[in-house]
Symmetry: C3
Subunit: 356 residues, 3 copies
């Protein structure tokens, strides 16, 4: 693709040769002639002079070098987003979904499948399930009865959707994820055994959500568990029953959200974060990796760290105070020395006085 074409498509401006061609997206350290790459981190600006890439996407704010071996720079508003789009255009993933319904798929008679849906080999689709146009279902997936799936959605191989769940448009579900398994609800019997609380709710996955491999969103007990528009969930994420995850929130790998939690919009939960049941997490909360959120977060926009999770600055200060206190030559040691010195001096003084 020519630099001039790419710039037009990205709404950017060429600095250099508009006719230079680049076909292969590459990370900046590997990009040579014929490759396209990007520079978004200020600290890499010093590299600009030594780059040999065909095309480099850069911020409008950056100072370009006088001389350069780069074929062309393209100035854009956000080089990372522009690069993402470029990659998607130059190298669309080779998923190989054939059109139509594979003859080995088992589709219930009452299912309603739009014309241009692709359903892979060995897929099961249950009774009354509706799948809208442009949607693709990978091999060996199981879609239960009474499910509704929107348009242009992509279910990779080996995904499972339980009965009655609703999945929006342009959703991506990765392999192994399970949508709509029973929430974890049991009532204790007198004899110490457990009575299962039937989970008669369902799951709503709204538009533009992506859910990573082997993640679970459990069905609500009586109503919906809801993953709102634009959320991105990584692999091995667990969302318990009755949760409501706000728009555009991000849950990194191995995050676990207990039941009946409300997470506000634009939250970021780092890897292995856990959230206790029945909490409210305010919008724009960031929980750093491994944080254990044991209480509701009321004030929006906080950054949390630790177990139990506290505001990051408080947690860091606490940690620093503690280190200052108990490190080998820290305050504790000094206080003990001072106490001993005071004791000795006071005793001497008194003895001295007593002796006088």
């Amino acid at each position: 693709m020519k630099a001039s074409e790419l710039a037009e498509w990205l709404d950017g401006d060429v600095v250099g040769d508009p006719g230079v061609q680049a076909a292969q997206p590459k990370p900046i350290e590997h990009a040579g002639p014929g490759d396209v790459t990007f520079l978004s981190n200020k600290k890499f600006e010093s590299l600009l002079g030594s780059l040999t890439a065909g095309i480099v996407l850069v911020s409008r704010k950056i100072a370009l070098p006088e001389r350069s071996k780069v074929g062309a720079f393209i100035r854009v508003a956000d080089p990372y987003v522009a690069f993402a789009r470029t990659v998607g255009r130059l190298q669309p993933p080779a998923l190989n979904f054939d059109p139509g319904i594979h003859p080995t798929a088992v589709i219930a008679r009452s299912a309603q499948i739009a014309d241009d849906v692709s359903i892979g080999p060995l897929v099961f689709v249950g009774e009354r399930t509706q799948i809208a146009k442009g949607t693709r279902i990978g091999p060996l997936s199981s879609i239960g009865p009474d499910v509704v799936i929107g348009e242009d959605t992509l279910l990779h191989a080996n995904t499972t959707v339980y009965h009655g769940c609703k999945i929006g448009n342009r959703v991506i579900l990765h392999s192994g994820c399970v949508i709509g398994a029973d929430g974890f609800g049991f009532a204790p019997r007198k004899d110490g055994s457990w009575e299962k609380i039937p989970q008669i709710g369902f799951v709503i996955i709204e538009d533009d959500v992506e859910i990573g491999a082997i993640s679970t969103v459990d069905r609500g007990m009586m109503a919906a568990t809801r993953i709102r528009r634009g959320c991105k969930l990584d692999d091995h994420v667990h969302v318990g029953h009755n949760c409501d995850i706000g728009e555009h929130s991000v849950l990194a790998a191995q995050v676990g959200i207990s039941g009946s939690v409300t997470v506000g919009e634009h939250c970021l939960l780092g890897g292995q974060v856990g959230v206790s049941g029945h909490l409210q997490i305010a919008p724009r909360t960031t929980a750093m990796g491994r944080a254990a959120v044991l209480g509701s977060v009321i004030e929006p926009g906080q950054m949390l760290f630790g177990y139990p999770a506290r505001p990051r600055m408080e947690a860091l200060k606490r940690e620093a105070t503690l280190t200052r206190l108990i490190s080998p030559k820290g305050e504790l040691a000094r206080m003990q020395q001072e106490l001993a010195a005071l004791r000795a001096e006071l005793d001497a003084l008194r003895k001295d006085r007593g002796g006088s």
Copy 2:
């Protein structure tokens, strides 16, 4: 269902109109006429006067209001358990298992399948495997050879059971769970590489166990890994090889139990709890969410918290002492002030004395 019928079935007593009908189970905040709900939490008693539900299940201990818009109250021993049963009766889950063996299922010739077993589309069942009456196997599940599955057991879609495992009666396995994968056993070779220890044991899942989506119970090295009667495991739970999980114990989501651990009966392990290998956990132990149990727990009935896990009161006291100590105007600051004051006074005293 009429209040009188429901009361009889639940072994409860009607207060109000025995003829009132309710068809839809609802949470208390959404229940109106025609709905059935329950009240078990004392702190919601103040709501009793304002409820409009058709039927409300309540404890025998509760004081009912003089006047009420509720159609009928039903007094029962345990309203939560009674409600669970009611939900299961009014709204059985719409799983749609067809009777018989689906023609696309692949059943080994020597497998023994009872007459009224339901085996879904695209299921694999291995040689010599036995499946008892009333059991249902969801689509796309794989049951290895030499497996024994009891009566009235439910395997949801996409579950995997390895060769030689034994699964009891009335067990529920959710989608994506894997029973009987190899335990994690490797012996170090001199050159730093690893020799696989063959895992020739198996797994026993006893009666009335439920295992959540995408959970793993690994096969024993030489004998069984055992999940005893009535245990409930949530999603993403891992039980390592040679473990023995006691009756009616509950493992919440993302719990990880290392190999050769014995967990007593009636234990409760909260979300993301981890247990180190070769430990003994006493009966009725509660490990709160995220606790890391690094040593055996000898005394039964304790509640544990933290990393490393300690008895909860000890952990909370420790945390509180620490906070009192290092908070900005805490004891540490006060001690340091007092030390400085003592130093100044002592110096003054000595100087004064020296000057006298």
Copy 3:
């Protein structure tokens, strides 16, 4: 198998009756006549006199009892490794893979399957995928297009391999694991929504790797995520995109490695360990279970503990100092007593003096 045969095969020496037979591998506490077991732990040496096993594998360094009911001891260099080999020989796992391609498998026309490959029922293999000789694919697995799988590799039932991934020789993948799902990459848009960064890389699983049930290795963003030769991953492990896991490293259950992490060779990461993104972990690092590695580890061979992870001795010392400090009759209490005593004495002294 006769003791003499076994000893020859293990390169060991018989002490006792070379003709004694043993057929069943057993743990030491259950081994009787006809069984073979091993003793590797010094602290069990006292048991030697009371054993009745048919054959016991022991270290060359151990002192054998004068009298014994054991049929034969076999002295070997490493009894645990020798026992592992013995188990594999006496009781090879009953996996029952039939030769050839099952008629219900769906194999793309351009796939290249070596002659003696075993492909189970209801398997999908995509276009251009190559599977080398001796490899076995369990039921209900999905192998995407453009995948390359080496020789003598074993994929258990229900595994998923995305397009373009490369899997070596003698690799074992357990059920439910997902190789090559998209890495977790999104760029923030101005409006707070997320732009997906296409993940056009792939995964390389080198020779002799074993990956546990329900583990994920995400594909690189532009290049490979690499699991190097001889690595062993347990169940529920997550390896993010662009990671490089060094040879013979071991990742226990529920470990999570964020994106772009380099783990050196011969590392041991305990259960539930987490590693933040973009870190370097030096060779031979041991992170104990639940450790949260939040910074790069430069010095090789360290043992880490805690959240945040610190060198183990430092972490234990810190913990011990803290306990000494804040326990009920600890240093804090003593310092406060001493401060109060000093204060009282000083006041008395001054008063005394003032009164003189």
